[in-house]
């Protein structure tokens, strides 16, 4: 009842146009209604809002005055092993963000003054033996708490005002399984949802729902092991099938459904050849890996799913990427990029409505049927060296970071990555038990596409049809998230360390600034004290960006991979 009253009060405040002040005393609790209301002064979830637009409705900074954008303040978190990869959040003028080792900072959004900082005590011996670690990609906010996952398998709730732990729940036996949490959680309807790492490890990757108030686990969803999924794993390989869901999903409040993407099966590369249904390291389609899931937020029960890549043998999982929820012509759509560089368009029950490629170089399939989502001309490997390069590279046709949908222009701004790899598939001994390290199944090296050098590109496209309005190219693939704004801007933090602002309608570059470190995390905008700010995390390093120095040389040779900064901009005039 109290929750309903607070919701009503918030709704009235928003309806009357009352801006939320940057004062703790004025702050309203954060619940699903507030997140759904999507006040542009805030940025309450990893994807900006439940509809995953990565879009700011603020207009103070716009295409006409962005040339006057300059640094307002900087925060150096320190100990940024493998850079900064997180998405800042803002509520009531207070910015919250995470750094490596799941450290959390609360900062006055107007001044940059640190209000509190939290450093969890981690299992150092475990962290030392992890490969995809110790970076953290963000937090969630809800019910007066900041939620953050850890690489040693815990979800921690901190008091938003003090940074003191409220609860600390162990969810994964990371000491045995090696995997933990690097992705941001999602808060919805009193539940905190978080997905484990898993794709590269012989484990059962899971998605968890935790009671936001008590910290008690409400449910878990095994991405390799429910009853109907087991039949799709020959030789009981579901027991060590990988999967997991290492990036945050989205929430559809109309149906109380959590959308979550799952990771790939292991070994990443299978030697089955064309007989993957009956032969190879993991015979069958391997449900529910490389899939999008619709889970009931209260129970975790599977409501619907679509497996984007049945028997994924390319490590092109469905875990990364936004779930852009929009309506057109009375039809609800959910747009979700697959790591392969194909963009899947669904209705709100994951029925395929269209599939279109954002990358120019792909040969893991000849195509994906836009009507059914069926893979056409899939390329399955026998053991041995492959004659032709595989495109895209294992790092994907798109990054784990997110694109942006701008409801004012109707365009979807998304980065594509054009790179390939030489591949030798190795018939490895079957793994039958959880293993402490990766299970790749191949040797490989990065390679340029057949028709030219590696590059990246920002596309402005119709999210449903994929029709391209404009494209801007970059000499190396940008890895960070993109943000568009109601000020007709698109911001792209690139890998060299430059933040670009483009005209959202034309793609014309309007402003740049060098942050001094490559970007591979979030960018967002908020308002504090009546002033608009743009915040971006800079700091390079990790499983993808560590390839940049050997592949591209140049600035990447000397770029630190253990440093980072949160850089916040505002208008100087």
């Amino acid at each position: 009842m109290l929750k309903r009253q607070r919701t009503l009060a918030l709704s009235l405040a928003l309806a009357s146009g009352t801006a939320l002040a940057a004062s703790g005393a004025m702050a309203q609790t954060i619940d699903s209604k507030r997140i759904e209301a999507n006040n542009p002064n805030d940025w309450l979830t990893y994807h900006g809002s439940y509809n995953s637009y990565h879009y700011s409705g603020l207009t103070q900074i716009n295409a006409k005055n962005v040339k006057n954008l300059s640094v307002a303040w900087i925060h150096i978190p320190g100990h940024s092993t493998r850079g900064l990869q997180s998405m800042p959040l803002v509520a009531d003028g207070i910015l919250y963000y995470t750094g490596s080792y799941s450290r959390v900072f609360a900062i006055d959004g107007a001044t940059g003054g640190v209000m509190w900082a939290y450093t969890p005590e981690l299992d150092d011996a475990l962290v030392a033996r992890q490969t995809h670690s110790p970076y953290n990609r963000g937090a969630a906010l809800g019910e007066g708490k900041v939620f953050v996952g850890t690489v040693d398998g815990r979800l921690i709730a901190l008091d938003m005002k003090t940074g003191k732990p409220v609860w600390d729940t162990k969810l994964i036996d990371s000491q045995k399984l090696t995997v933990g949490f690097t992705g941001a959680p999602l808060y919805a309807n009193g539940v905190v949802i978080i997905g484990s790492q898993g794709g590269e490890w012989p484990v059962q990757g899971k998605i968890y729902g935790i009671d936001a108030n008590s910290g008690q686990k409400k449910w878990e969803f095994n991405t390799t092991g429910d009853d109907s999924a087991k039949a799709t794993w020959g030789n009981d390989t579901w027991r060590i099938g990988g999967g997991g869901g290492w990036m945050p999903g989205a929430f559809d409040p109309k149906t109380n459904t959590v959308w979550w993407g799952t990771s790939n099966p292991d070994p990443l590369y299978d030697w089955s050849g064309g007989d993957y249904k009956t032969k190879g390291a993991r015979p069958g389609d391997n449900l529910y890996t490389s899939s999008v899931l619709g889970l009931d937020v209260e129970t975790g029960k599977l409501k619907f799913y679509h497996q984007e890549l049945p028997h994924d043998t390319w490590d092109f999982d469905a875990a990364p990427g936004e779930f852009v929820m929009l309506q057109r012509g009375g039809q609800n759509y959910v747009v979700h990029p697959n790591k392969s560089g194909f963009i899947f368009v669904y209705d709100d029950s994951a029925h395929v409505k269209n599939v279109w490629p954002i990358v120019h170089n792909y040969n893991f399939v000849k195509n994906i049927d836009p009507k059914t989502g069926e893979l056409i001309g899939r390329r399955d490997f026998a053991a041995g060296k492959q004659d032709d390069v595989l495109c895209p590279h294992i790092s994907g046709g798109v990054s784990w970071n997110s694109g942006s949908y701008n409801p004012k222009t109707g365009l979807y701004y998304k980065l594509g990555q054009e790179w390939c790899m030489k591949l030798e598939v190795v018939k490895t001994t079957p793994v039958t038990q959880p293993q402490v390290q990766l299970n790749i199944g191949a040797n490989f090296t990065i390679a340029p596409p057949p028709d030219g050098p590696i590059y990246g590109h920002l596309d402005a496209r119709d999210p449903i049809t994929g029709a391209k309005k404009w494209e801007v190219r970059f000499p190396e693939p940008p890895m960070a998230s993109v943000m568009s704004t109601a000020g007709n801007l698109v911001f792209v933090p690139d890998s060299r360390g430059i933040v670009h602002a483009f005209d959202a309608s034309t793609g014309k570059e309007l402003w740049t600034h060098n942050d001094g470190l490559g970007h591979q995390g979030g960018i967002m905008s908020y308002s504090a004290g009546g002033k608009q700010y743009v915040a971006v995390t800079s700091g390079f390093g990790g499983m993808v960006s560590d390839d940049f120095a050997p592949a591209f040389g140049g600035v990447y040779k000397s770029m630190p991979r253990d440093d980072g900064a949160l850089v916040v901009y505002s208008l100087s005039k």
Binding site: Q433, A442, T445, R561
Partner: protein, 108 residues
């Protein structure tokens, strides 16, 4: 120790290697198939079985000493390489070092 046991169970492929010629005494025979190890775990960073540089350095023709390599495998390097000290026995690590020392360019 438990992890090491698990790893030894899952990584098979006996090579029948004799350890009598190693400088350091070993307490057991390693059953590690290092070729497979690179294809499952090491190769993401040490490309082409360690023959070319990737995220990690090229291992073929490395000038590093056995002690340096042994220490790096055991303890890792923060932010760059995991520590495998709880995964591999001394005998396993010696076998990995021998694999590295024997690396040759692949024939076209």
């Amino acid at each position: 120790m438990k992890n090491r046991a698990l790893f030894l169970v899952v990584v098979s492929g006996l090579l029948g290697f004799s350890w009598s010629s190693l400088a350091q005494p070993v307490d057991q025979t390693s059953h590690l198939d290092v070729n497979q190890l690179f294809a499952t775990t090491c190769g993401w960073c040490h490309n082409d079985g360690g023959r070319t540089a990737g995220k990690g350095p090229q291992l073929m023709n490395t000038k590093r000493s056995d002690d340096f390599i042994r220490n790096r495998i055991k303890h890792g390097k923060e932010g760059a390489m995991p520590a495998f000290g709880s995964t591999f026995s001394d005998a396993d690590i010696d076998k990995i070092i021998q694999y590295i020392r024997a690396l040759k360019p692949e024939q076209p």
